[in-house]
């Protein structure tokens, strides 16, 4: 257990080399790959998300931790398939049409992946229909929409409306976020969840996945 606590702590501090070595050491000690993922890497990333949410740490710390997470995952991945550790779920993510900003959206992707989700990132300037197609073809139950421009926020409403039109409302949930996006706005357009920041967006996705 000490091995995994140390791994979580090294990840939190963004120490790539230590995370790589710690992952290898845990595998060599015979710890199940799924346990290394959950109790080591994901546990560390969860702390990072919470601390960022409280602004006890900041964006650079989160990016370093995400990089360390990736270093550990590279070593762990070949072992995970046999262990059968399933991802937490699948999320389609993108910045809405007309908006090219992706720093916030990428951060949400990093934290979601860090928390065990499979993320289908559609990039920026994504039309409403593409979000639905991606959700349907992948079986994702949550769509995450990002906007930085106040002028592209109404595009979020289009995605919600299109889900209703196609009878998918309720089966596929929508979480919205981005600097100008508020809970009141999310309620107004009928979104299922809202993220004040990347960390609360991930919590919102988690809550929704438990309800679908």
């Amino acid at each position: 257990m000490d091995l995994l606590n140390q791994l979580a702590e090294d990840l939190r501090l963004g120490e790539d080399d230590a995370v790589r070595a710690g992952t290898q050491a845990a595998l060599a000690a015979g710890v199940a790959p799924g346990e290394i993922l959950r109790e080591g890497l994901l546990a560390g990333m969860a702390v990072v998300g919470e601390e960022f949410g409280r602004r006890e740490i900041f964006l650079p710390d989160v990016l370093l931790a995400a990089r360390a997470m990736q270093a550990g995952m590279e070593i762990l991945k070949p072992h995970l398939a046999s262990d059968g550790a399933p991802p937490a779920g699948r999320v389609v993510l993108g910045t809405v049409q007309g908006d090219l900003h992706d720093i916030g959206k990428n951060l949400v992707g990093i934290l979601l992946r860090g928390a065990g989700w499979e993320v289908i990132d559609l990039g920026t300037d994504v039309p409403a229909a593409r979000f639905l197609e991606a959700a349907e073809s992948s079986g994702a139950r949550v769509i995450g929409l990002s906007a930085l421009l106040t002028t592209t926020m109404p595009r979020m409403a289009e995605v919600v409306a299109l889900l209703r039109e196609r009878g998918l409302a309720g089966r596929v949930k929508v979480v919205v976020g981005g600097a100008p996006v508020t809970q009141a706005f999310a309620d107004e357009i009928g979104a299922d969840g809202w993220g004040f920041d990347a960390e609360s967006a991930v919590r919102s996705v988690k809550t929704l996945m438990e309800s679908v």
Binding site: R54, G98, D99, T150, T151, P180, E188
Partner: protein
């Protein structure tokens, strides 16, 4: 008004009144979403002249150019990279047509939108060269000062200030960052405090420092921290709150009166330049003008 140098007035007082938002005004005039707001400089400069005239009429003594994203990284997203110089020239000219010598023109320089290496992919020397290009173009077009604004990364803000000082040595540079209130005090999302920003932006050559694009409630507190950590004049430009949607349109909740009510507190905190950021309009500027005691 440009007869008196901007810097002298900033240091001597009384507090200078800035303008309000530009994006908000352009979108109200039908700017298509998702396109570069800077394209307006090339295609519909008369809109910029119209907005500048409204801000001048409301009492603004500084009018900002529509060049927030006129750096190679952002313009490149829209295929406008080669037009950087022409965009800056057209943006300054459009404002000059409205304000003549009755207001100072502030050339806006915003962040690249890309994280600097080693965290991100942007080479600092490339970012610096881009900022220098933008500053030189704004200066050549006749801007009276430059404003490096809405920064969250101190390294990027310093690069922009240094590049501006080097490429346009005659122009004062107002450098402001976007802070939020946390339980441990004010920080940008990159973890920069006003104290750290004050010292390093002053060392980089800024003529004034402060905050923009943030909650109005935080501005006096932030100004006091800047005050305590540097000798420079302080500039603040808060948002009109966070927008909500009402019958399909975006509404910024903070009224001109609510914004103006903070002016005494800001002046007490030592603010030498006050204006508005996202969601503020000529009505907000007019209310600030009255709160500054400029009523005739």
């Amino acid at each position: 008004m440009s007869v008196e140098p901007f810097l002298e007035r900033l240091q001597r007082g009384p507090a200078i009144l800035g303008d309000g938002a530009w994006g908000t005004m352009l979108f109200a005039r039908g700017l298509p979403t998702g396109d570069a707001p800077e394209r307006v400089c090339l295609e519909r400069p008369e809109l910029l002249t119209e907005i500048a005239a409204l801000y001048l009429e409301a009492g603004a003594e500084v009018v900002t150019t529509n060049t927030f994203g006129a750096n190679p990284e952002r313009l490149g997203l829209h295929g406008l990279g080669p037009d950087l110089e022409e965009i800056c020239r057209a943006a300054v000219s459009a404002v000059r047509r409205a304000v003549g010598e009755r207001a100072w023109i502030s050339g806006s320089i915003g962040p690249t939108g890309v994280l600097l290496s080693p965290l991100g992919s942007l080479d600092p020397s490339v970012a610096r060269a881009g900022f220098a290009r933008q500053a030189a173009a704004l200066a050549a077009a006749g801007a009276d000062l430059l404003c490096v604004e809405t920064m969250t990364d101190l390294a990027e803000a310093e690069l922009a200030v240094r590049a501006a000082r080097e490429a346009a040595p005659a122009l004062p540079v107002v450098a402001t960052m976007s802070f939020e209130a946390t339980r441990r005090g004010f920080f940008t999302v990159m973890g920069v405090t006003p104290a750290k920003a004050a010292a390093r932006l002053e060392a980089a050559g800024a003529s004034a420092v402060g905050a923009n694009c943030g909650d109005g409630d935080t501005m006096a507190g932030i100004a006091r921290e800047f005050r305590a950590h540097c000798a420079l004049p302080i500039a603040v430009r808060p948002n009109a709150g966070l927008p909500t949607i009402a019958s399909g349109a975006l509404v910024y909740p903070e009224t001109p009166e609510a914004m103006a009510a903070r002016v005494p507190g800001l002046l007490e905190a030592g603010v030498a330049l006050v204006g508005g950021c996202c969601g503020t309009t000529p009505e907000h500027v007019r209310a600030l003008w009255e709160a500054l005691g400029r009523k005739v």
